[in-house]
Symmetry: C2
């Protein structure tokens, strides 16, 4: 347990949300500028193997990077809004039942599980409905297909 590892773990524990590698790096650097990005990668790899943290993709909504969170006592589902990007967590007995069913049906022991769900949250649904309505009004006679959301490229500097 070195100074750097302690720091990285501390950053992740204090995080109020899911961080990607660069975010962890930035926060660690702010406290101790002598921490190297490579060390963050290596530490994350280690923690992942030990099962102390979980890795998420969040459905690649924000690009293909990975996000990390400290492994809590209970499994939860990540629910993301496709529009505003907000991620919420969800626990359910149904989820536990589902995993039990898999174990029973396949005769297997489940040790990892990840479920990520995307959709439009209550707030964005009303926004979207309004937009759709506007588009419809504009194109009543044109018979145009619905506008696609432009691809947003999430790229680090």
């Amino acid at each position: 347990m070195t100074r750097q590892r302690r720091l990285i773990l501390q950053v992740m524990d204090n995080a109020e949300q899911h961080l990607d590698v660069d975010q962890i790096f930035e926060r660690a650097k702010r406290i101790d500028s002598g921490v190297h990005l490579v060390t963050v990668y290596r530490t994350i790899e280690l923690l992942k193997k030990q099962g102390l943290i979980d890795e998420l993709d969040l459905l690649h909504l924000r690009g293909d990077r990975h996000y990390y969170e400290t492994h809590g006592p209970r499994d939860h589902i990540h629910v993301a809004c496709l529009k505003c990007g907000k991620v919420r967590e969800f626990e359910s007995r149904l989820y536990e039942q589902l995993k039990s069913q898999i174990e029973k049906d396949f005769g297997m022991k489940v040790t990892i599980s990840r479920t990520e769900v995307g959709g439009y949250c209550a707030h964005c649904q009303t926004l979207r409905a309004r937009e759709v309505e506007e588009v419809r009004m504009l194109t009543l006679d044109a018979e145009k297909p619905a506008a696609r959301t432009p691809k947003k490229r999430v790229r680090k500097s």
Copy 2:
């Protein structure tokens, strides 16, 4: 709808398992050597946006590649064995209920969902080490991505 796109779709439809980009590329090339990797990427991007294919990570068991499958009529869960790497699919009414519960609790409309589960399958729990190794050879090596072979460092001009 071009020759290339038709071909790429055909490859994915005929696939008996989840393919990554390079596997799709290799198979397409075998049929029409004039297909370019970039076109595969662009086509996948397109199909993904249209919701015609789904993207999987398979819990990163085989590295950080992405895998693709044509989007069937019903959602299913991917269940992977951590030992032999075999991936099976699982459908359940519980899963539908779970998604309904999320929609109800959050007042949201769920449009994408992905769940991937890892564990030890019935075989791997009981097989002896040597037999496990054989299964691994059969399932993982069949079309395993090229191993990362470190080479002598050579300065690039």
